[in-house]
Symmetry: C2
Subunit: 407 residues, 2 copies
């Protein structure tokens, strides 16, 4: 059986009868972890030995988790009831609550592992995690999560954002710690509501963009500030990114303001974001305005998706399933038509890959063979049905099935 021997020699795997997003059936060949051939399904009576028959399952590129917090989740640990802030939502009070919770929690590495396996089990093989850096915790979180990333390197690609959870100017010493975090291996520099938190937009952004330039790092800023204030900050970030020509490496997470400004202001913001290349991350929060996905995409803005918090001190929700997140984004956005459902999926796949700057993403010859196989007729059906029965392949090897790690 020559095909078997050859496949063994070059470490080649064949996947038969894969339903592609365009509806066709294909046979996929994987060699050295990448797709080396994609051909119309041969449907031969005697399939090559060792081939895996996907039996018409839909094959999607592995999902991209665009925003997660690996250091703060309690997933898989004891249940920790949420408590409200004493006088309306307050980030500082919430951070204090988080610190009390974390003191009693299982070791961070273990909790991060639980969350990583949850995500991989659901089919996310690339992710961006924010990791808290402030004067209190110093670089402890960064060091722990860097070690976890190393341990899971073969399973999942993790980008780390050095995240000033307690502000930069408000938490003296944080700028230096962020610098150190980037030296240690963080890929991006984060930020947090320059106006409402540090009350100094320029001062905050000077540090963020300064560090990005010095380290050649990307930027991903948490921006919850709403209305015209948030819009002003978005304009400032886009202007700086454009001036430095680094827009493709800059993202704004949440950007709630885009969800509560006038259509005219939104149109202007969309043009500016598209021209700068700055991407917008949303998780389609439940009871909060969020960026209008369709309008921004139409304007040419890269909009991508993330879970954000998963069962932590900020809220109890989150399941680490980016297909369910695409469903939520579609549901919250009023996406009913097939192309709209496909665009919801795009946020958790191709647009996410673009925002994260991933190399070799997709179901294409030369791309990494990181993919998910599940029972759905096409992408729109996958988005509305969110089948939990799915198999996850990393570099062409099965790593999870029905949500559970198999490797």
């Amino acid at each position: 059986m020559p095909s078997f021997s050859m496949d063994c020699i070059v470490n080649r795997t064949r996947f038969l009868n894969a339903k592609l997003a365009d509806g066709t059936l294909a046979d996929l060949t994987v060699a050295a972890g990448r797709f080396s051939a994609i051909a119309p399904a041969a449907n031969t009576a005697t399939p090559p030995a060792g081939a895996i028959d996907l039996a018409g399952q839909l094959v999607l590129p592995a999902f991209v988790e665009g925003h997660i917090h690996l250091d703060t989740s309690f997933y898989g640990d004891a249940w920790r009831p949420h408590i409200p802030c004493t006088n309306g939502f307050d980030v500082r009070e919430r951070v204090a609550f988080q610190m009390r919770n974390l003191e009693q929690a299982a070791p961070m590495a273990e909790r991060a592992k639980n969350q990583l396996e949850l995500c991989v089990g659901n089919g996310s093989l690339a992710m961006r995690s924010h990791v808290m850096v402030d004067a209190d915790v110093g670089l402890k979180h960064v060091e722990t999560i860097l070690a976890v990333r190393e341990k899971y390197r073969d399973l999942v690609d993790v980008q780390l954002v050095a995240f000033p959870q307690s502000g930069i100017l408000s938490s003296p010493g944080t700028a230096e710690l962020l610098d150190e975090a980037l030296k240690l291996g963080c890929d991006l520099i984060g930020g947090l509501d320059p106006a409402s938190f540090d009350r100094d937009v320029d001062g905050h952004l000077d540090v963020v963009f300064g560090l990005a330039e010095r380290h050649g790092a990307g930027i991903d800023i948490h921006l919850h500030d709403g209305g015209t204030l948030g819009l002003f900050e978005i304009e400032e970030i886009a202007a700086r990114a454009k001036a430095l020509g680094i827009g493709g490496k800059v993202a704004i997470s949440h950007a709630y303001a885009l969800g509560d400004i006038s259509p005219d202001a939104l149109a202007k913001a969309g043009e500016m974001l598209a021209a700068s290349g700055v991407a917008i991350m949303t998780n389609a929060p439940g009871n909060h305005p969020f960026p209008p996905v369709a309008a921004l995409r139409k304007a040419g803005v890269t909009v991508f998706a993330g879970s954000d918090n998963i069962r932590d001190s900020w809220w109890p929700y989150g399941d680490g399933d980016m297909l369910n997140r695409a469903n939520m984004i579609g549901y919250r956005s009023g996406f009913y038509e097939d192309w709209e459902l496909e665009s919801a999926h795009d946020l958790a796949s191709h647009a996410g890959a673009k925002a994260l700057g991933l190399e070799g993403y997709g179901i294409a010859v030369g791309a990494k063979a990181d993919f998910v196989a599940l029972k759905a007729e096409h992408v729109p059906e996958a988005v509305v049905a969110v089948p939990k029965e799915r198999t996850v392949y990393r570099a062409g090897r099965e790593v999870a099935r029905q949500g559970r790690m198999t490797r």
Copy 2:
């Protein structure tokens, strides 16, 4: 083994180590389809023969599906892409689209069966389905769904609403058809936006309340009208229900208006609804204001949950999983604390049972042994995790597992 023999003789089943909502472990005894005993878990070394060990799984009363359309779903049939209305949303245009779709669809009985099994598989063993009645379709839908209900009587309790999808005054002959539908076996009389659709609030409600009185039937009215117009209609419905003393049998589905009126107007509406006994059904729609669940519950209003459309001509969403619906309602309502998550679950369980007037609902001695067992520490965790691995019992007998019918 005397316990085995006795259990056989009285048709008794024992479920051991059930986690109850209060966190305790209990042994449940079911006789003749009802809970005959609930006792602290005995945890004996030698469990009674034939007993089913639930091994600490959380036991919840079977979910209550408060609003579904058994006649119009394409679930399990060919995928039918959604198309938008030509000039903004228009109910009449949507109904025409639905008629075209239904002409090409699989037989209604088959589609209804698919949807029923989806719901039962997810743990809903009581539901209220609206069934279209108008001058075009006549009683065809009602007759078909009545037959399906009969066939599934042992599996699920179905209430049917004779639903004037094309209005009452706008579709001559409909009043007589609704009368006939109630004679044939429908349990409730429905309605549809008396103001915006029939443009005659009194005329529409005269028919609805008149038929309800004549047949001793309940009432469940679709009300999408927003703002002060919708509020006016809610007031009219509540006033009529109160005057007739039948509020406990009257529900308003959707009631979007409650989601976009001022807090003062909402407070007044809440008082009036609570005093009249009229219940409010919501599915927490994705991109639309909806009734504020917490405020209404605090005012004493019965708020219950439904899927509404499942993959039909109105939208592609819906999974027939009322635990996921509770999750969505919590997510959309900003419910983070444990008691809030429990209240989201209440909409899909006890409050639903109250709105539907179900007898013998709950995990209690004397109640029907219709329940779901799943892996969760408690109700709040079940609501955020929505475990798909669950077993569904009807009258103490397993009917579904992991979403699939086993009986």
